[in-house]
Amino acid sequence: MRTTDEIAAAVAADIPPGSFVNLGIGQPTKVADHLTTESGVVLHTENGMLGMGPAAEPGHEDWDLTNAGKQAVTELPGAAYFHHADSFAMMRGGHLDVCVLGAFQVSVTGDLANWHTGAPDAIPAVGGAMDLAIGAKQVFVMMTLFAKDGSPKLVEACTYPLTGLACVTRLYTDLATFELGPDGARVLTTYGVEVGELAERLGLDL
C-alpha cells in the first residue's frame, strides 16, 4: 500500500519533461514536491499564472500572489501572469499538457466525479474542475481506492454528480495504478495486493 507521498511521486514520475501542468487543490499539490528543476515542468495555476513556485515562507507572504487554493505562493524565473479568460483558454484550447485532480469517484471509462457529493445540505462549489477535466490533454487522478466507509471509488458508473465524461486517463491510488479508457480499466501496477483480489473487492472486471 502506497502513502500519499508515494502516490504523488509516482504521478510526478509519469509527467513528461517540459509539460505544462495544473495541480488541483488538496493532495495533488504534493506532486510539486517530487518534480525536479531538470524536468522543466511548468506549473499553471488557474487564477492566472504560469511558472508558479513553492509556497511562500511564513512572514514573506504576498497576498497579490496566491494559488487556486488562495495560499500565498512564489514566482519562478520565467513566470507569466494573465487574466482568467486567458487562463481557461489554456485549458479549453488544449494547451495544458496534464492536470492532476482528486476525486470522489472515477468510472472505469474515465468519467470523473469530484465537485459535489450531492448531499442535500451541501453547498455546491465547482471552481475550475469542469474546465480542467475537459481541457487538459491528459487528466490524472490521485485518490485512495476505497472511501472511509470501505466503498470503492473506482466504479462501473459514478453515482455522484459528474464533473466530466470520459476524461480521466490515469488513476493513481494507494493500492494500484490504472489506465482508463473506452475499453475500461486496466491495472498497470499493484501495491501489496493481487489483481484478482483487487477485482473482487472492487466488484469489477480488470
Binding site: 487574466h83 481557461f88 479549453r92 459535489h116 462549489a125 475550475g128 475537459i134 459528474l162
Partner: protein, 219 residues
C-alpha cells in the same frame, strides 16, 4: 467616453441602482476592490445580483455586502470555502439565490459580453448537472453546450496603477477577473493603488486600455 477621475469611492458608486448586476473583481481577497465595496455598502443599493468567483471571504469586502442583506443572487464558481460563513448561512436559510458557473465559463461568459458575442458553444460541463436543460450541439464529433454572456450594469475592479488616460496595470495574480470584467459592464469603476501621469505606463505593458474604464479612484 474618456475616463473620469474621482476623489472618493463614494462618488464612484453613487449611481448604482437597486436591482443592478454588479461584477466584482478578485479571487478571494486578491484583487478585490474593498474600498468600492465598502462605498457600495454605504450607498445602500439592494436587490443586487453579484458576479464574483467566490461568495465572500471572512467578514470584509463582498462578505460584508452579503451580510447587509443587499444581495438577491450570487453568480459564482466557488462559494463554499473555509471562511465563507456569511454566504453559507444565507444560503442555508434560503435567503440568497445561487447560480453556480464553472470558473472558465464565468470568465468566458463575461468575455463574450464584453466582445459582443451573442452566445458560444463550450465543451465544459457536458454530461454534468450544470449543463442540464441547456442546448447542446455536436461540432466535429465533440459535444458542446450553448452558453450565454453575463453582462454587468456595473463592474467594480481592483488594479495596481492607472494613468491619466485610464489605462490599467495589475499586480501578479490579483489581475484575475479584472481585465475581463472591465470589458463586460456598462459602467466600469477601477480602484487603484496609484495614479500616474500620461506616459507613466509604457503603452506596451497596458493590460486594460482606458477605453474600457469609466471611472478611476485612488482610495
Amino acid at each position: 467616453m474618456r475616463t473620469a477621475f474621482l476623489d472618493t469611492p463614494d462618488e464612484a458608486v453613487a449611481d448604482v441602482a437597486d436591482g443592478a448586476t454588479v461584477l466584482i473583481g478578485g479571487f478571494g481577497l486578491a484583487g478585490m476592490p474593498i474600498a468600492l465595496i465598502d462605498a457600495l455598502i454605504r450607498q445602500g443599493a439592494g436587490d443586487l445580483t453579484i458576479v464574483n468567483n467566490n461568495a465572500g471571504n471572512g467578514d470584509t469586502g463582498l462578505a460584508a455586502l452579503l451580510a447587509k442583506g443587499r444581495v438577491r443572487k450570487m453568480i459564482c464558481s466557488f462559494p463554499r470555502q473555509h471562511d465563507s460563513w456569511v454566504f453559507d448561512d444565507l444560503y442555508r436559510r434560503g435567503a440568497i439565490e445561487l447560480e453556480l458557473v464553472p470558473q472558465g465559463n464565468l470568465a468566458e461568459r463575461m468575455r463574450a459580453a464584453g466582445a459582443g458575442i451573442g452566445a458560444f458553444f463550450c465543451p465544459t460541463g457536458v454530461g454534468t448537472p450544470l449543463a442540464e436543460g441547456k442546448e447542446t450541439r455536436e461540432i466535429d464529433g465533440r459535444t458542446y453546450v450553448l452558453e450565454y454572456p453575463i453582462r454587468g450594469d456595473v463592474a467594480l475592479i481592483g488594479a495596481l496603477r492607472a494613468d491619466r488616460a485610464g489605462n490599467l496595470v495589475y499586480r501578479k495574480t490579483a489581475r484575475n477577473f479584472g481585465p475581463v470584467m472591465a470589458t463586460a459592464a456598462t459602467t466600469v469603476v477601477a480602484e487603484v493603488r496609484e495614479l500616474v501621469e500620461i506616459g507613466g505606463i509604457d503603452p506596451e505593458t497596458v493590460v486594460t486600455p482606458g477605453i474600457f474604464v469609466d471611472r478611476v479612484v485612488v482610495p
